[in-house]
Structure formats: structure tokens, C-alpha cells
Symmetry: C2
Subunit: 145 residues, 2 copies
Amino acid sequence: MSEVDDIVIRPMYATDIQRGFLAAIAALKPCELTDEDAVEVFRKRMRQKIMTYVAIKEDRVIGTASLLIEPKFIHSGGVVGHIEDVAVHQGFQHHGLGGRLVKFILDVCRQHKCYKVILDCAEEVIPFYEKMGFHRWERAMRIDL
Amino acid sequence: MSEVDDIVIRPMYATDIQRGFLAAIAALKPCELTDEDAVEVFRKRMRQKIMTYVAIKEDRVIGTASLLIEPKFIHSGGVVGHIEDVAVHQGFQHHGLGGRLVKFILDVCRQHKCYKVILDCAEEVIPFYEKMGFHRWERAMRIDL
């Protein structure tokens, strides 16, 4: 748990869906899930050990970020962290919360002894991640099915 | 299962480690795991539903590719496929096996109703993935811990 001023970052619980989780993640992409469907997605993710974290202020979710931990055969069985879906509620952007979420996840990755942490991002947020210590690496490729 | 001539592509079993799995994946990066440690990594990946596929010829592993399925909150609870660690044993490269492994995984992604499939790759293999229908997307960023 990370607490600075009155913001707490911690693992998500299913009940955070009632604390405005979907409104926070909608900063990233429209999210038309009902609360019930979101609970089902949350459970599926938990079963796969996909970790979702939330930033809470006054009992409301104001930000989120997720982590997939991947044990590899290569790198002597090393572990890779994949950061996904870093989002800050529109009313709380530009106050450094995104950076705090990423730093929190990097600490979790250190606890899991990840040898590297990777993420895909748009060109315009590369400077943000460079400030956090990331460097440009490979090309992300995509196919729509 | 995909079978063309005498090559079969199928989900990996723990016993494939005795069929030369580590020698095949070593085409990607040195892999110093013992067979026992590799079984432990395989089990960890299974618990997280990380799917590893193998190409088998004459009861030996000659290629592999992996798939992480990620249920998202965004995109109305849509599912994303992440392709990882496509490797072909050095003695069997340049015969189209990499393409067959990727096509096999894309079929699995269609069965899981993934709305997109993504992967990170080095500049020199971009044309290979473009031929498979992928397009250049975001920038992969990396930090070493």
C-alpha cells in the first residue's frame, strides 16, 4: 500500500467497482460494462493472477493500473512484468498520479524479482515513461480479429 | 491441433521438456534451466493460464510460441491476445514454421474471441509480421530492474 497525502494505492477489490472504478478506467477507453459484468471480468482476471491496482481518494477510485506477471522459460526462468491500462480519472489528471501508479507497480515487480518490465504506449507518452526510467525498445505490432 | 506434412502443432505438455523443448526455445535466448526447473516454470505458467504451444516432428520439439489471454475492463470486457516467445529450433528455420506457429495462435485467439492480438518484436522481423497481417502499432518501452 502506498499512501501520500490522502491518496492510497492498493490492490483492487471487487467492491471497488461500486467506488467508481469504471469511471476511472473510462479515461482510457469507453467502458460500457455493467457493474455485474465488471465483477465477472475482475474474477476472470484474478483467476489468471492479472493484478489490478487502484488509487483511492475519499473512498472513490481515481486511478488504476494493471500488471501481468509472466514466468519465462528463457532468462533462466526469469519473470517479466507487463504493465497494462494505466488510467487516471479525468478530474485528477496532471497531478502526478499516473507516475505514482507506475512507481507502485515497479515496486511490486521488484518484489516479484522481475528482470524487466515492459509496456506498449502511444508516441505522445514516451517522454512520461522515459522520465520514469524506461527506454524505447521494440516495435509493438497489432492485428484486429 | 494443426498437422501439415509430418509436423504437428499442439498445446505443450510437461513431458515435452524431455522432447527437446529447451533446445528449441534456446533459438531465442540462452536457456540454462534444468529439466526439473523447466517443469516448475511450466506449472507456474499453467496456473496463470499462460498457454505454450509446440511444433512436434518425429517426437521432438522443433518450435514453440506462447499466448497470454487478457480479459480487459475496457472494450466492453473484450479479450486481448499477447503473443510471446515465438521460436524455431535452429536446424528447422527458414521453412515457414514460425508463420505456422503464429497462424495457429491466431486461430486460438479467434476461438477466444480476442478483438486484437499484439506482440513486441525487433525491427528486422516487422516484415514477417506484416506479411501475417499485423501492422505497426505502439512503441514498446522497457525498464530493467
